[in-house]
C-alpha cells in the first residue's frame, strides 16, 4: 500500500500542478524575501561589529572647549585611558558640501581603506566612502580643499562615522552634503593654523584598558577641568553605545532582522493554512476511497502521513530554494545596498548564519506539518462507514433556515456557509496582507510626514551655532540659546535640542512661559515620545550626567530633529549662564560672523535636502513590502476562490445543464464572496493600521525624527477600493475557469 500511496503523491502533484506551483512560488518568494532581508541584516550586524573591533572603535569621546595640555593627556593615559585626538575642521567646499578634515589615526577609530592606500605625505587625502560616491570621487582624482590641492590616495571608512552625520542631532545622513577626510598630521596642523577657516573642534576619542569605565574618565577630566560658572570646559561626552554615529547600521538592522523573522513565520503559517484547506477539500473528494482503505485495515497514521507528505515536501523545497536565492547574488547582497547607500561601511562579505539556513529549511515544512496535522486529524478520525458515505457533518449552521423568497440571496448565503473555511482563510489572508501593507504604508507616510513637517516648520534661512558668542548680536539676526541634551528610549539614545527663545522670536511659533522648567515641545518630540501638555520629560546632559526634568506646557509645529523650546532667561538660569548669553543666531540671510566662531552652520536648503532623503532611501523597501502584501492577498484570494469553484464544479456543471449562463453562475457562486471580502476589509483596515502603529515606535527607535503616522482619511477608501479591485480581478480569472467547466461533467461523476 505504501508504494501505491507514493505513486499517488506524484499524481496529486500532477493533477493540481498549477495550484501547487502557485503555492510553491509563494513560499519561494516569501523565503527569498525573508532570507535576503535577514541575511543582509545579519551581515551588517556581524560584519560591522567585527570591523569596529578590528579598527579599534572608541569606547567614547569627549569634546573640550580648548585642547587638553600634554600633561593632562598624560594623566589620562596613565590612568589606563588610551586617547586619540580627533580634532577636526569643517570646510565648506565650492559645491556647497561640507568636508570634516581630520588627521590620520594611530590607535583608535582606525581608517579602513577599501580602495587605494592610507595617507603618507602632504598633499594626499583619504576621503570617506559615501561622500566620494555621492560626488563621484575616485582614487587618483585631484580635489581642492580650502584652496589647497590634494590627490585622493584612498577611499575608506571609520567606525566612529558609521552614520556619517555632521551633528549628533541630525535627522538623517546626507552624504551629498557631508563627509570626512583624512590628511597627515603635519598637513592638519597647517590647516588648524589658518585663521580664515571655521573654528577647530577638539574632540578626543578614548579606549579603556581592562577594568576602567566611563566614570573613571569623567573623574579624571573633572580633576583638571573644573566646572566653571561662565564657561563649560567639557562641552560634550558621549559613550559609544549612546553615540548614534557608531554601529548605526547594525542598530538599524536589528529591527529588519526581527521583523523579517516574525513576518516569515506569519506568512508561512498562512500558507500552511491555505494548503490545509486544499488538502481537506481533497480528502472530502476522496472520502469514499479513504473509508474503503480504513475498512481494509489502513491506519489513520498512514493516511494522515500520506496527506501531509506532499505539502511538507513542497514547502520544504520551496523554503530551501527561496533561501538559496536569498543568499545568491540577487538576495542579501542586493538588500544590503540599502545599507551601503546610506551608512558608511567597509565592504562586507555576506555572512550565511546557520540559524537562518535552519529557519528556511525547517519553518515551512514544520508549520505545514503542524497546521495540516491539526486540520486533518479530525477529518480523518471519522469511522470507515461515515467516510464511505462521505457524510457531511450536518452542522446547524449549514442547515440553517433561510427566510424570504429572494432565491439569489439565499443561494449566496448557502454558498458562503458551505465555503466557510475558504472564506475564513481569505479573511485571515486579507488581514495578514493588510498588516504587511500598513507596515509599508506607515514607512512611506512616516518619511513623507517627517520631510513635510520639518520643511514646513523652518522659518529661518540660516542658523549659526556659535562656539564663542560675541557680545553684540549681528544686524538682522535673532539670538537664541541652544543646548544638546539626550533621551534614551527603547534602547536608543537620541539627541534632543533645547532652544531658549525670546518671547518676540520671529522664527519659532512656540511661546514658552517663564515658569520654571516649563517647555514647549516640537511636534516631532511629541509624536516620537507620545507626549502631550502636562506630561513631564527628562533629558540628560551626558557630559555632566545631569538629568533635567521638564514639564510640557504645549506643542508647536517645529519638527526638525527633536527640539524643545524654553524661555531663554529660564534656560540661562537652568544651565548656569550669565544673562544675555546666546550661542545660536537665526537669520533670513547669511550673517557676517567670524568663521572661527562658528561651530555649525545649517541652511534651510540643507534641511530641505536632508528631509527628502528618507523617502528616497526607503522607497525600494517600501515598494517591496507593498508588492509582497499585494501578492499575499492576491494569491490567497485566487487559491481560495479556486477551491470554491473546484468544490462547486459539480453544481456549476449541473446548473449549466439547466441553461444558466456563466455570468449568472459567477453571480450565484462567487458574488457572495464580495460581501465577505468587503466586510473583512472594512473590519480589518483600522485594526491593521492600529496594530502597525503600535509596533512602529520600535521600528524607528534609532531615528531622530517625529513619529507622525497620520495619513489622510481618503487613504482608507482607496485601500478599500484596491482590495475590491484585486477581488474583481481574481473573480474575473475564476469566471473564466467557470466558463471552462463542461455541463457533461454531471453525467460522469456524482457528488
Amino acid at each position: 500500500m505504501n508504494r501505491v500511496f507514493r505513486k499517488r503523491i506524484l499524481r496529486d502533484l500532477k493533477e493540481n500542478f498549477s495550484r501547487w506551483l502557485a503555492l510553491f512560488l509563494m513560499i519561494v518568494m516569501g523565503m527569498y524575501i525573508v532570507t535576503s532581508v535577514v541575511g543582509a541584516a545579519e551581515t551588517v550586524i556581524t560584519q560591522s561589529n567585527r570591523a569596529a573591533l578590528k579598527n579599534q572603535v572608541e569606547d567614547g569621546e569627549f569634546t573640550t572647549l580648548i585642547p587638553l595640555t600634554e600633561e593632562q593627556e598624560e594623566i589620562l593615559e596613565n590612568a589606563g585611558i588610551m586617547l586619540e585626538r580627533k580634532f577636526s575642521i569643517d570646510i565648506l567646499l565650492e559645491d556647497g558640501s561640507k568636508l570634516r578634515l581630520m588627521k590620520n589615526r594611530k590607535k583608535v577609530n582606525l581608517i579602513e581603506v577599501d580602495e587605494g592606500q592610507p595617507v603618507k605625505e602632504t598633499g594626499e587625502v583619504v576621503l570617506e566612502k559615501r561622500y566620494s560616491e555621492e560626488h563621484g570621487w575616485g582614487v587618483g582624482d585631484d580635489i581642492k580643499i580650502a584652496g589647497r590641492e590634494f590627490v585622493i590616495v584612498g577611499i575608506g571608512t571609520t567606525p566612529d562615522y558609521d552614520l556619517p552625520v555632521g551633528s549628533l542631532s541630525d535627522m538623517a545622513a546626507e552624504s551629498a552634503l557631508f563627509g570626512t577626510a583624512f590628511v597627515t598630521k603635519e598637513q592638519y596642523e597647517e590647516f588648524a593654523g589658518d585663521e580664515t577657516l571655521r573654528s577647530e573642534d577638539y574632540t578626543y576619542a578614548y579606549r579603556l584598558k581592562e577594568g576602567k569605565s566611563e566614570e573613571d574618565v569623567k573623574r579624571e577630566l573633572k580633576s583638571f577641568l573644573p566646572e566653571g560658572k561662565e564657561t563649560k570646559m567639557l562641552t560634550a561626552f558621549v559613550t559609544a553605545d549612546r553615540n548614534p554615529r557608531i554601529l548605526a547600521a547594525a542598530g538599524d538592522m536589528v529591527m529588519n532582522k526581527e521583523m523579517g523573522l516574525i513576518a516569515g513565520v506569519v506568512v508561512m503559517a498562512l500558507f500552511a493554512y491555505v494548503i490545509s484547506v486544499f488538502v481537506i477539500n481533497q480528502i472530502s473528494r476522496e472520502a469514499a476511497v479513504i473509508g474503503t482503505l480504513y475498512a481494509l485495515g489502513a491506519k489513520k497514521k498512514e493516511i494522515l502521513a500520506h496527506y501531509i507528505t506532499l505539502p511538507a515536501l513542497v514547502t520544504f523545497v520551496g523554503g530551501v530554494i527561496g533561501a538559496a536565492l536569498g543568499f545568491s547574488g540577487i538576495g542579501a547582497a542586493r538588500q544590503m545596498s540599502e545599507a551601503y547607500g546610506y551608512f558608511s561601511l567597509p565592504a562586507f562579505d555576506t555572512v550565511c548564519p546557520v540559524y537562518l539556513l535552519i529557519y528556511a529549511a525547517v519553518v515551512p515544512p514544520v508549520l505545514s506539518i503542524v497546521v495540516n496535522f491539526f486540520m486533518l486529524n479530525k477529518k480523518l478520525s471519522q469511522t470507515a462507514l461515515s467516510l464511505m458515505r462521505n457524510e457531511q457533518k450536518a452542522s446547524k449552521l449549514r442547515q440553517v433556515k433561510l427566510k424570504g423568497d429572494n432565491f439569489v440571496r439565499n443561494f449566496r448565503i448557502r454558498q458562503t456557509l458551505r465555503e466557510m473555511r475558504a472564506s475564513v482563510t481569505v479573511i485571515v489572508g486579507l488581514f495578514v496582507s493588510l498588516l504587511v501593507f500598513m507596515l509599508g504604508l506607515n514607512c512611506y507616510v512616516l518619511c513623507e510626514n517627517a520631510a513635510k513637517d520639518s520643511v514646513e516648520s523652518v522659518k529661518f534661512a540660516y542658523s549659526y551655532l556659535l562656539k564663542y558668542p560675541e557680545g553684540k548680536i549681528p544686524e538682522g539676526a535673532q539670538a537664541c540659546y541652544s543646548e544638546s541634551l539626550s533621551k534614551t528610549a527603547l534602547g536608543f539614545t537620541l539627541d534632543v535640542t533645547v532652544i531658549g527663545i525670546d518671547a518676540d522670536n520671529r522664527y519659532f511659533e512656540a511661546r514658552p512661559s517663564d515658569r520654571e522648567n516649563s517647555i514647549v515641545i516640537g511636534k516631532s518630540v511629541a509624536t516620537k515620545y507620545g507626549l502631550t501638555a502636562g506630561d513631564s520629560l527628562t533629558l540628560t546632559d551626558s557630559a555632566s550626567e545631569k538629568d533635567y526634568d521638564f514639564t510640557v506646557e504645549g506643542i508647536c509645529d517645529y519638527a526638525v530633529g527633536l527640539t524643545v523650546f524654553m524661555d531663554i532667561d529660564g534656560m540661562r538660569a537652568l544651565f548656569g549662564r550669565e544673562s544675555g548669553y546666546y550661542n545660536m543666531l537665526l537669520a533670513d540671510g547669511p550673517l557676517a560672523v567670524d568663521a572661527g566662531r562658528i561651530y555649525a552652520l545649517t541652511s534651510r536648503t540643507d534641511i530641505e535636502r536632508s528631509a527628502a532623503i528618507f523617502t528616497k532611501l526607503m522607497m525600494p523597501m517600501i515598494t517591496m513590502i507593498l508588492l509582497a502584501s499585494f501578492l499575499i492577498f492576491f494569491m490567497v484570494m485566487y487559491l481560495m476562490t479556486g477551491v470554491m469553484v473546484n468544490r462547486a464544479s459539480f453544481g456549476i456543471s449541473l446548473v449549466k445543464i439547466f441553461g444558466f449562463r456563466t455570468e449568472e453562475i459567477r453571480s450565484l457562486y462567487l458574488d457572495g464572496g464580495a460581501v465577505t471580502v468587503a466586510a473583512g476589509a472594512l473590519v480589518g483596515i483600522f485594526p491593521a493600521k492600529r496594530a502597525i502603529d503600535m509596533v512602529y515606535p520600535q521600528a524607528v527607535a534609532n531615528v531622530a525624527c517625529g513619529l507622525n503616522l497620520y495619513f489622510s482619511w481618503y487613504y482608507y477608501p482607496l485601500i478599500f477600493a484596491g482590495i475590491m479591485l484585486v477581488y474583481l480581478v481574481v473573480i474575473a480569472l475564476q469566471t473564466r475557469k467557470i466558463g471552462r467547466i463542461s455541463p457533461v461533467e454531471v453525467l460522469k461523476n456524482r457528488e
Partner: protein, 233 residues
C-alpha cells in the same frame, strides 16, 4: 413534428479507441407525446438523449426541436435553448446538497419568466411538507420527486429523463411514473424517457428501441395502460 431526428451520427475517440456510438438515427416525436427509448446497455440511449439535450454535439445529421436546428449551434446558443425549452431528470437525482427542497426547485424557477406555481407543484409532487428539508434528509423517491419538480417548475416544453426510476424500488417507481403521466396530461409536456424497464413501454405514446446506435424499432402504442395499472415494474 415537435422533435425530428434525422440520420444522426456520433462517435468518440480516434484510431484504436474509436467507437461509433450513434450510427444514423432517425425518428420523430409529436408535441405532447411521452416517448420511451430502450436498448441494451451501451447501445447509445444516453448519447442520443444528450444530443437532443444539446449537451453533446453530433458529428452529422440533424436534430430539430420546436423548429430549431441543433446541428452546428454554438455552446452559448445551446445553453439558451436548454434554458428556454428543456427540463432534465437524471437517474441519480443530482440535487444540490446544501440547498433545501424548495431552494433546489428555485434554482430552475429563476430561469423562467413564466414558471409554474411553486406551491401547486409541490402539492402535485407530494413534497409540500418536506419543502424545508435538505436532500440528505429525504428518501430516494422523495429526492427524485424533488428533481422532477425542479425540472418542471419552469414549465419546459420537452422533458428529458435518463432512467428516472433506475435507482428506485417498484412501488416508488410507479409513483414517479404516475407523476410523469399526470404532468404530461396537465401541462402537455413532451417527454423522452430512457429506461431499461420493459413494463413502462405500454404506458407511453411512442416507443423507440436502439441497438448498436441504430433504430431497430419505432412504433406508437394504439392502446396505453395507465401507470397505475402497469404490471411487473
Amino acid at each position: 413534428m415537435y422533435l425530428e431526428v434525422k440520420d444522426v451520427k456520433k462517435s468518440y475517440g480516434s484510431d484504436t479507441s474509436y467507437v461509433q456510438v450513434l450510427n444514423g438515427i432517425s425518428t420523430s416525436v409529436e408535441q405532447g407525446d411521452m416517448c420511451v427509448i430502450q436498448g441494451t446497455s451501451g447501445s447509445g440511449k444516453s448519447t442520443l438523449l444528450n444530443c437532443i439535450g444539446g449537451l453533446e454535439t453530433m458529428d452529422s445529421g440533424s436534430i430539430r426541436v420546436d423548429g430549431r436546428e441543433l446541428f452546428g449551434m454554438k455552446p452559448s446558443v445551446l445553453s439558451d435553448y436548454r434554458r428556454e425549452l428543456l427540463g432534465f431528470v437524471f437517474q441519480f437525482y443530482n440535487l444540490v446538497p446544501n440547498l433545501t427542497v424548495l431552494e433546489n426547485i428555485q434554482v430552475c424557477q429563476y430561469l423562467s419568466k413564466e414558471p409554474l406555481d411553486l406551491d401547486e407543484l409541490l402539492e402535485i409532487i407530494g413534497l409540500a411538507e418536506h419543502r424545508d428539508k435538505f436532500p440528505s434528509q429525504l428518501s430516494g423517491g422523495q429526492q427524485q420527486r424533488c428533481a422532477i419538480a425542479r425540472a418542471l417548475i419552469k414549465n419546459p416544453r420537452l422533458l428529458l429523463c435518463d432512467e428516472p426510476t433506475g435507482a428506485l424500488d417498484s412501488k416508488t417507481s410507479r409513483d414517479i411514473l404516475m407523476l410523469l403521466e399526470t404532468i404530461n396530461q396537465r401541462y402537455g409536456t413532451t417527454m423522452l424517457i430512457v429506461t431499461h424497464n420493459n413494463a413502462i413501454k405500454s404506458m407511453v405514446h411512442k416507443v423507440l428501441v436502439i441497438k448498436d446506435g441504430m433504430v431497430v424499432k419505432d412504433y406508437r402504442n394504439d392502446v396505453r395502460v395507465p401507470a397505475a395499472d402497469l404490471e411487473d415494474l
